[in-house]
């Protein structure tokens, strides 16, 4: 069967050029609109999820300052670090969240002597869990991970008679016991510090005149901000 005659086909084809161009413009236009719409929706979702992409926070045990913890990144003092902490190497350690395991910490340099929960982190890395304490030499930081993350529970140290000493027990609690997982979206500032530490401290007596009471550790019945 023969097709359209050459002049008729030419007319139809030339007429259809505008139709095909129009459709191409519609494709581009709709793609742009869809991209804009999707972008707005994404931004809206992100506004509703201020903690999106984060797994928790890293809290300075001394000052209570907290740093948001991304799923993956670098801790160091350099500009390229995701968490910038003063007084450490430019690239101190890498971290990456692994579901079911925790936050893997890998020292960037084999000569680093970084401690996680009082144990040296080896070159292959170690997993930080909720409540784990990272010792970076002069400063210590506590990891606070969000509730709902697939992370194993961290076990507290077994009972030991040495803990019976109230001073030792308090110190252990400060370092090792973890507060409950943190709900995302809440302000984590000060959560690492017990209530007594946030209150105004009474003025110390003059040097050489410390009373026995002023040297005692605070009560062990302190409560965290999250009510535990």
């Amino acid at each position: 069967m023969s097709g359209l005659s050459a002049p008729v086909y030419e007319m139809v084809s030339m007429g259809l050029r505008y139709w095909l161009f129009f459709l191409a413009v519609v494709i581009v236009w709709r793609a742009v609109r869809l991209m804009q719409k999707e972008s707005r929706l994404y931004k809206k979702t992100m506004r509703q999820l201020p903690d999106a992409g984060l797994v928790g926070e890293l809290v300075d045990l001394e000052t209570g300052e907290s740093h948001p913890l991304p799923r993956e990144g670098m801790i160091g003092s350099g500009h390229a670090s995701d968490i910038r902490l003063p007084g450490i190497r430019r690239r101190a350690l890498e971290m990456a969240f692994r579901a079911g395991h925790g936050l893997k910490l890998i020292p960037s340099h084999h000569k680093h002597s970084l401690r996680l929960d009082d144990e040296l982190i080896d070159a292959s890395g170690d997993y930080a869990l909720h409540g784990s304490v990272l010792d970076l030499g002069q400063k210590a930081y506590r990891f606070r991970l969000f509730e709902g993350l697939d992370v194993p529970e961290r076990h507290s140290l077994p009972y030991s008679p040495e803990y019976e000493n109230p001073e030792d027990a308090w110190a252990r609690q400060m370092v090792m016991e973890s507060p409950p997982p943190m709900p995302p979206g809440e302000d984590g500032y000060g959560m690492a510090l017990p209530v007594w530490a946030q209150e105004v401290q009474p003025e110390l007596p003059e040097e050489g005149l410390y009373t026995e009471e002023s040297l005692l550790p605070p009560s062990r019945n302190w409560e965290g901000k999250d009510g535990n």
Binding site: S13, L20, L23, A31, S39, F146, E147
Partner: protein
């Protein structure tokens, strides 16, 4: 991040793509009243519908990206079928294989945590594969980049693109910059030995982009750019065909019947097309020797016009922007770098060949992604898209997880 509210918008995008292909194939069918062409007028739009809207139900993917890429693939099939029906049909088979590779790419990224142990193996295989044409390759257009295996001829450097992107993203995400540069250097050296300078240029540029993105170092960028300039000067002085291409680029009319024949015919074809084109089925771009591969953009402009060509360029720009958006939404460095590498590869390749066709830059022998004829080219382009789609689907899952965590937080 796909919601029910978005789906009708995506359908609104797919409809004009389907209508475009239906109209174009019906028009071609009217020329000879060929029933097979009429059948394609139904089958190609259905294929677009299935690949754009049904596939993401099985494998989570970015529908907008799929719609745009399917438009380009269908445009390639249409142009090839109009110029040489056998090639058009062959391209449909290539597309089907390419979709399979794309799905594998999506799955590879989705199961990355389990499969990342395969990276060293992939790196070694990539180097071995890239070395094959140096020893067993056959020369085409001055480059010894092809090998024939079991009767099938293909270009290993096209397949290795996928491995190159994955390995570089993996190494750079772990800050192994030196190792990644060594790996890229081996690939580049092998490409230089094959005299496949166009592909070498792409590999170099992508490596530079990824290393700069991973390190943020201006020193790396400066050294890389200086290295590229030195390489260009060295290539010009060593390879005679580079000198010839540069001289053709500067003035193709010096030898319009010899070395400048292709580019001259390409420019004439585009000029003939004008703003609106000659009309589908009325063009004469077949006079360009490499009309199906390197010069397919000239064929498109010849028959559809410059304005339509601008729309095609806009589609590539949108694909690139979408890829960058996927990269920026990624939660892990590996995914960010991979998405950046994939989208840059597609955009850069499109720029290099379109720029070569319109005499903006010297012509290099690379294909127009998703459009040009060639099994290896289409399959590797769809494979790169699969990796990008994989990152997009991981992003979607991450957002779902964040929403769940936020919900737990509210309930808690």
């Amino acid at each position: 991040m796909e919601t029910d509210r978005q789906r009708p918008a995506e359908r609104r995008l797919v409809k004009p793509v389907m209508l475009f292909m239906f109209s174009a194939f019906v028009l071609l069918g009217l020329k000879d009243f060929d029933w097979f062409t009429f059948a394609l007028a139904v089958l190609v739009p259905f294929g677009i519908y299935a690949a754009t809207l049904l596939l993401p139900r099985l494998f989570p993917a970015d529908t907008l990206l799929l719609a745009l890429v399917n438009f380009l693939c269908a445009l390639g099939i249409l142009t090839l079928y109009r110029t040489d029906p056998a090639r058009g049909i062959s391209q449909i088979y290539n597309y089907a294989i390419g979709v399979g590779v794309m799905v594998m790419g999506i799955l590879y990224i989705r199961f990355w945590q389990r499969l990342k142990a395969t990276v060293p193996m992939i790196a070694v295989a990539a180097v071995v594969f890239m070395a094959l044409p140096v020893f067993f390759g056959e020369e085409r257009n001055g480059a010894k980049a092809w090998i024939a295996l079991f009767g099938v001829s293909f270009q290993p450097s096209e397949i290795v693109k996928l491995a190159h992107l994955v390995v570089l993203a993996f190494l750079l995400s772990r800050r192994r910059v030196l190792t990644s540069v060594v790996f890229a250097g081996i690939s580049l050296a092998l490409l230089m030995l094959q005299k496949d300078l166009g592909t070498a240029l792409l590999y170099y540029a992508i490596t530079l982009i990824m290393v700069f993105s991973a390190t943020g170092s201006l020193t790396v960028l400066s050294l890389g750019t200086a290295g590229a300039a030195a390489g260009a000067v060295l290539g010009y002085s060593i390879f005679s065909h580079v000198r010839r291409r540069v001289s053709i680029w500067i003035d193709p009319w010096i030898d319009p019947r010899g070395s400048g024949y292709q580019i001259v015919q390409s420019l004439i074809a585009m000029a003939n097309g004008g703003l609106w084109g000659t009309g589908l089925g009325l063009g004469n771009a077949k006079v360009i020797p490499e009309y199906a591969t390197d010069f397919i953009f000239s064929v498109i402009i010849n028959e559809f016009g410059v304005l339509f060509g601008a729309c095609v360029v806009a589609v590539y720009a949108l694909i690139f922007m979408r890829g960058i958006s996927i990269a920026m939404r990624s939660r892990s460095k590996f995914h960010t770098l991979l998405a950046l590498g994939c989208s840059s590869f597609i955009a850069l390749q499109a720029f290099v060949i379109i720029g070569g066709n319109i005499k903006l830059i010297p012509l290099t022998g690379v294909t127009l992604p998703f459009v040009s004829y060639g099994g290896t080219s289409l399959i590797s382009s769809l494979g790169i898209l699969g990796l990008l789609q994989g990152v997009a689907s991981v992003n979607q899952e991450d957002i779902k997880e964040d929403q769940m965590i936020a919900l737990i937080g509210e309930e808690g």
